[in-house]
Symmetry: C2
């Protein structure tokens, strides 16, 4: 396959086209994914997430610069939830990457997620592998973390960086407990703002309370808390060092392989759900089945669950 | 069914139990949903969404009070994404409802969404119908709107109120265009803050740019922009009036029935996907099928898409 060969040779236009095919769920994308798969698994994947306004993009820009300084090729995938509150398609156009745009060692792409509630995670995994196959050493996945689907996306990252800032309101502050589940590295950004020290202290206390067995002896990973002022590059080198330390920890403890297997299991499971669901829906769209089922539901003769269950049963027992 | 009878009689403990069964996907919940379905469709559903920190809970509290003043029974469903950035299970415990907690005409429940990426929308629809069957006149669904799944949830509301505040950062501000898609009423909360007027003006301009045909003649609905300072109840009566005007518009224009049909179609479709996906996964979990598929993927002999496709094909063609 010509596109696969070009991609593996590092051709940027082939890469851009391959990502578009994947986003559009073009049948060629599945073929391409299969063709390049044996050549993947080499790139390191770092996820950066956090609430809107935390300064994730600035941190990603800074990290990209540092990766480049150390000679690595970097790809950035910005997941763009196309949601009313997180940037929509506009995110894709925003001016970013203060320092990296004309550097051939940097590739940036926004992924739209509209309509791909279930397939989101698949797209992300596939796109990461395209970048991996195209020779990028590091892939940074940036999401506006505010939903279950963003957490799913973070499964593709070996190291997840959670960015927080002081003063984001109760809803965010009340949520700090949940962060411990996904964060490998915690960042308190805008550390020059009032409340930054208190936030860092609270996080530290919560980490100590939730410490896994083995933390004291150094066997388990305890997420470091890094303070940054990303707009002036303060603390970004520390952040870089912390993510690298985490990657070494994963490799040396054997947890890298465990994590990879868990990720791939989740991805295959998500795909099985998605593909089986698609097949059932495609079938239900034929012979007026939707129409009949929905009409019965609207007339309150059948409830949605019963109607859907009936369709699925008929689908699975057909022929 | 005893539980259904108690629920229809307005028994609060039966209602609480029914919601728990639904959240837990207990088989009894499906039965219950079928039993009460013919008695539903009466309650008005208002969705309140917006970014974290916009003051949604305060607005919901205020609306609840006003509904009560007008003699209506109100249920509040707070969707709790159990995500690191939006409140997690802690949201369920937060002190809220300054004025409504001991009022038997008010019912408040948080719905956790962990693990229910696909089923979320079903749960919400089912829980709304339980509240409807239990005799609540109005159901307010509150979400931290930041993802595709929250938009799905908003499909269950006839009237969607989007709450914004000045100064939430670029990611939020850049997203205003997307709001027009789901907002029936726009709220600029914290209207006493600097920037509130500018935000309202920008929204107004965007609404005018995106005006649907028929807007000038009053045939199409143009979302009103309501300024509020929810903490001191300013503007909440206007908000209440705007939602009521929207409900009347839906009823009089015949759009209510169209919207209801569209919602139910989406719900049945979501359930078909979910149930077919579950069936495929349950099957794949038998006879070591996952294990074999994932092992091949980890060894890079098969890519995730091909492995999943193989499992689904085998599932659909089995016997």
């Amino acid at each position: 396959m010509e596109l696969a060969d070009k991609l593996l040779a590092g051709d940027r236009r082939a890469l851009a086209r391959a990502i578009t095919l994947t986003e559009n769920e073009d049948p060629a994308a599945a073929e391409l994914a299969a063709a390049i798969y044996p050549q993947t698994g080499r790139a390191r994947v770092v996820g950066v997430t956090g609430p809107p306004g935390a300064g994730k993009s600035t941190i990603v820009d800074g990290l990209t610069y540092l990766y480049r300084q150390s000679g690595q090729r970097v790809a950035v995938v910005a997941i763009d939830p196309t949601s009313p509150f997180s940037g929509g398609a506009i995110l894709g156009d925003r001016i970013r990457m203060r320092r990296g745009t004309v550097d051939p060692g940097v590739f940036i792409r926004s992924l739209a997620t509209r309509g791909h509630l279930g397939g989101l995670s698949w797209h992300t995994g596939s796109v990461i592998r395209l970048l991996d196959a195209a020779g990028f050493d590091a892939v940074i996945v940036e999401t506006v973390g505010a939903g279950q689907s963003e957490i799913e996306i973070m499964r593709h990252a070996e190291t997840t960086v959670v960015v927080l800032v002081p003063g984001l309101g109760d809803e965010v502050q009340a949520a700090k407990a949940g962060i411990l589940e996904i964060a490998d590295v915690l960042v308190v950004n805008k550390a020059d703002l009032a409340g930054a020290d208190r936030l860092a202290k609270e996080l530290d206390m919560m980490l100590k309370l939730g410490q896994p067995p083995g933390a004291a002896s150094g066997e388990a990973w305890v997420p470091p808390i890094v303070k940054t002022v990303a707009t002036s590059d303060e603390g970004l080198a520390d952040l870089m060092a912390a993510t690298e330390r985490h990657q070494r920890y994963l490799a040396e403890s054997g947890r890298f392989e465990t994590r990879r297997r868990r990720e791939l299991t989740a991805e295959v499971r998500g795909l099985v759900r998605e593909l089986a669901g698609q097949a059932a829906c495609a079938w239900a769209e034929t012979a007026g089945r939707w129409e009949r089922a929905v009409t019965a539901v609207v007339a309150r003769q059948s409830d949605p669950r019963t109607a859907a269950g009936g369709l699925v049963r008929e689908f699975l027992e057909r022929r």
